[in-house]
């Protein structure tokens, strides 16, 4: 049993434009003057070595980490978006799994989906079961998530996105290393979900080290360069050799 997808019209998501973003963490400048566009139906693969700021960029888009400079616009020439507005139209999966180990898989999924506002109507159990079935966790649904493997927890996160496909309220997906710990069939599930999301007019930014290829839609790449670290010593900023 597979869940259907709700189309996202141009009214719900007209794209995203980031202009001249700069991010400084403590004494380290992760990037300056980073600009990119994201149109409906597009996947942006965020590539770069460890520590180049992929996770921080995703967090900064949501306002979890403040940007030093730059702004986010709705569409190519749209108005400026506040972090709160970006959050409200985003499904975000962070670096940590974001599940409570004491709760079962289905309880975690239900709570997450309720918070996303993607569980509407009376068929809640059917939708939850269908989403767990899709990611191959239906037999583990009543197992506490602390007993699940890393890959299974990652699949549980994917189930949340499968439910997100049902509603049009969160057209932007931000995923931090969704392929980590996933096996080949898990990766296929991820690529299938991303494909269906792009096909319905959604968009996604995925930080990854793997060449994730969505089954449908367009994929582009954004490379984050390792920035030369700046050291602050005795009050003077100097570039490291």
């Amino acid at each position: 049993m597979s869940l259907g997808g709700t189309p996202i019209g141009p009214g719900a998501f007209g794209g995203l434009k980031a202009s001249s973003l700069a991010l400084i963490r403590g004494e380290r400048t992760l990037f300056t003057d980073l600009s990119f566009d994201l149109a409906s139906g597009e996947l942006l693969r965020l590539l770069g070595p460890n520590g180049s700021g992929k996770s921080s960029l995703l967090r900064a888009l949501l306002g979890l980490t403040p940007l030093a400079r730059g702004q986010l616009l709705a569409g190519p020439a749209g108005r400026r978006l506040t972090p709160r507005e970006v959050c409200a139209q985003t499904l975000y999966q962070g670096h940590a799994h974001g599940t409570k180990g004491e709760l079962t898989a289905i309880e975690n999924l239900a709570l997450a989906a309720e918070l996303d506002d993607s569980l509407a109507g009376s068929e809640v159990t059917r939708v939850l079961d269908a989403a767990l079935d899709e990611v191959g966790l239906v037999r583990q649904r009543h197992i506490e998530t602390r007993r699940l493997s890393q890959g299974q927890k990652q699949r549980l996160n994917l189930a949340r996105f499968a439910i997100g496909l049902q509603v049009a309220n969160r057209p932007l997906w931000l995923m931090d290393e969704p392929s980590a710990a996933l096996d080949a069939s898990g990766l296929a599930v991820l690529e299938g979900l991303l494909g269906r999301h792009l096909a319905r007019g959604g968009a996604a930014i995925v930080a990854t080290h793997l060449p994730i290829a969505p089954t449908q839609g367009k994929a582009r790449e954004l490379h984050l360069e390792p920035f030369a670290p700046r050291r602050v010593r005795e009050g003077l900023a100097e570039r490291a050799p």
């Binding site: 799994h97 709760l103 709570l111």
Partner: protein, 224 residues
Amino acid sequence: MTEFGAITWAVRRDLRLAMRRRGDILNVLGFFVLACSMFPLAIGPQREWLQRIGPGVIWVAALLSIMLALPRLFEHDHADGTLDAMVASGRPLWALIAGKLIAAWLVTALPLLALTPALALAFNLPTSSLPVLLGSLLLGTPVLIGIGAITGALALGLKSGPVLMTLLCLPLYVPVLVFGAGAVEAQAAGLSPLAHLALLGAGMLAVLTLAPPVAALALRISVE
């Protein structure tokens, strides 16, 4: 999801988590009872002394028990990434925190209140002072939890977080303790405890209004 929906979501979530971690509730209750029973052992079983110190001891023990439980309010959620998910959900953070505080009161303060009559008996308090003691705890414990939420959110993620939180909290708890224990004392002295209770109530209203948005601000800084 409306604000109300966000509040009930957080209450249901945290109550369910508390039910899975009943040991935590029992630890706090055990601490409360043991802390109270240390005093008679230390100062001897003279009836009038116990009666005299009873309300104060129960109040201090309740205060310390709540402080024992409070560091957990945000720490687990911070460590497993669910706090990030809550902030990133775009739901009103103050409402999610308000829900968490309601749940925290239900699982930490309410059991303390339920045990208080038994401890009052152990301290030989007159039955007539029990309603005032319970009333002062009913009004005062939300203040303790609200202040603890703000300091806990500020100290979140710091290496010495729980200790720092204790140091920040205790001075702010002093007025609550003074008026809480003072209410019972006033009644024992034949005065009306209403002034103390009214001040506690005012404090409660202020904290109920201020704690969720202030803690939300502090959390946004802490998750950076």
